[in-house]
Amino acid sequence: MSEPLIEAREVSRQFESVEGSIKVLQGVDLCINPGNTISIQGESGSGKSTLLNILAGLDRPDGGSVVWGSSDIANQSSSKLARIRASLIGMVFQSYYLVPELRALENVMLGGRISGMNTDLKERSKALLEKVGLGERMASLPATLSGGERQRVAIARALISEPKVLLADEPTGNLDEATGDSVMGMLQALCVDANVALVLVTHNTNYAARMDSAWILRQGVLEKGS
């Protein structure tokens, strides 16, 4: 088997607060292989977002290590990490985070611009928006789009840079069930299509069950889900 894209080894992370330190992650092991789909469930506040941020190199663990490909990211500068992240990882969030000043197409293209994937960017972005079913809304500003439509734009923006891994933090958390289902279906199909590994944080057991492997974050460690 090929080497994992991202590997977390014994990752721990704690936060200082007025009530003392909160140990959020206490030795998390996770291995993301190319094309793998993984779900992570867990109660609110269990540290799912924290784990995704650490996997993405946005946050640094207090203990343990995160390895991208074959290199430990602990001793890399944040600019170096940013440049690698641009081509390795795409991220999708619960509340979309579209740039309100940009039209749908421009939001998608921004993902390509930042990661330096500029060749045929406009054509590729248009094609991707067609794929997520927004061929008619390319010139719309985010404010005029529905929640489901916004998340589709956000997914297209994350995938335009052709990442190896997509980290999705409760992508359907703000959507009603029917919309969530269709967005989820589309997300999974796109990842399988492009052979992108998917880490899906979700509260929905159905979605979780559709992944290759399912995990539950409980008391700072990952347990095998059913």
């Binding site: 977002s49 941020n53 993405a56 946005l58 946050d59 944040s78 600019s79 940013a82 440049r83 690698i84 992240r85 641009a86 081509s87 990882i89 991220m91 969030f93 985070y97 740039v99 309100p100 000043e101 940009l102 039209r103 421009e106 921004l110 993902g111 611009r113 930042i114 990661s115 500003l141 923006r157 994350a158 840079s161």
Partner: protein, 412 residues
Amino acid sequence: MPWYLYIALRHLFPQGKRFPVYTLMSVTGVVLGEAVLMVVISVFNGFGHEIRTRIADTYGDLRIVTGDLIYNTEDLSERLKSMESVESAVPYAHGLVMLLHKNKPLAPMVEGIDVRSDEELGKYEEYLLAGNMDDFDDDSILVSSGLADQLQLYVGGEVEMYTPLMMLKLLESDGKDMLLPRSVRVAGIFQTGWQRADENTVICTLRLMQDLYNLGEGAHGVRVELNEGYEIEPESRSISDALGRPFFARTWMDTHGDFLSVVQLEKRMMFFLLFIIVIVASFSIMSSLLIFVIRKTREIGLFAAMGATPRQVAACFCYQGLFIGITGTIFGMGLGFTLIHFRNHITSTISRILGVADSMNQIYGFSYLPARVEMADMIGIALLSILVATLAGLIPAYKASRLDPVEALRSE
């Protein structure tokens, strides 16, 4: 176009909004500062230039002297006129006299000019407030406006003139001689707008001056006007060299340069005072960009998640300062040039509304507001405004680049 430049432009000029208020406010500050600076500096340059021409008109560009009387002025004038840079060369004599009118004495400077030269006459004609150059002859004088005021002189009136020579004679004769003043007619009253000349000056013909000062055919020097486009300082040196001893050239800078340096100093002070407007504008840019960074916190976190480096994030906000500076400067220049162009309509409208017509003429001796656009000044103002606006973007940019992406994404 790098993405941060693109985002900077989009932040400033959002899609689908025709009226970017924040941008407009920031830009307006720069526009006003830039325009005011341009107008004031140009008016100062205008004053400086006007005064310079007036000084040059009354003093001449250069004066060729020997330190003694010059008798062969014809020769000298011809030699000078044969030079490429010289427009005219006429002899002059100068000194001090005492005027007595209605028992009030004053001792003005007197300058004897060569009335055979039409240019000489034309120059003073321009500055005449009253009287006529045609009446100017060997028995009459032109008096400056300040002198006319103090002695209550009027055109056509007579005034008694004493020279130092008369006093000397009186002294030598132990008071036995009678002191007989020369009675002259006032042919005209002039005002140049140059305070120093307007206060206390008498112009008479060279012949009268030679008579009064017992100069015979001699003169104190030759006044030289240079052709357009020749610099006074270097030209004075080369003319001095060309004439050789005992002649040498003096410029009005040597004698009256201090006055112009005052104008220069005032201009510089006004520049620094008014530059404060630009600095204030830069603070408003800074505060609106800081607010903007805070509003855009989650977006900045998102940029990081998409692979943006802190340096690129900083660049995004730096460029906004730069764009505001450039846009403000361009429109400020437009406004500035418009104001400079219509300044006289504007000032006359204002004085008509306030009912203080012609106050400018009374105070400055100008019937209009002079202005002169010096390109070097304009470019300097523009570059400084852009620089200051860009600097104003640095602090917000630094703040944006230092945001922790995780915190930024968590913020609500």
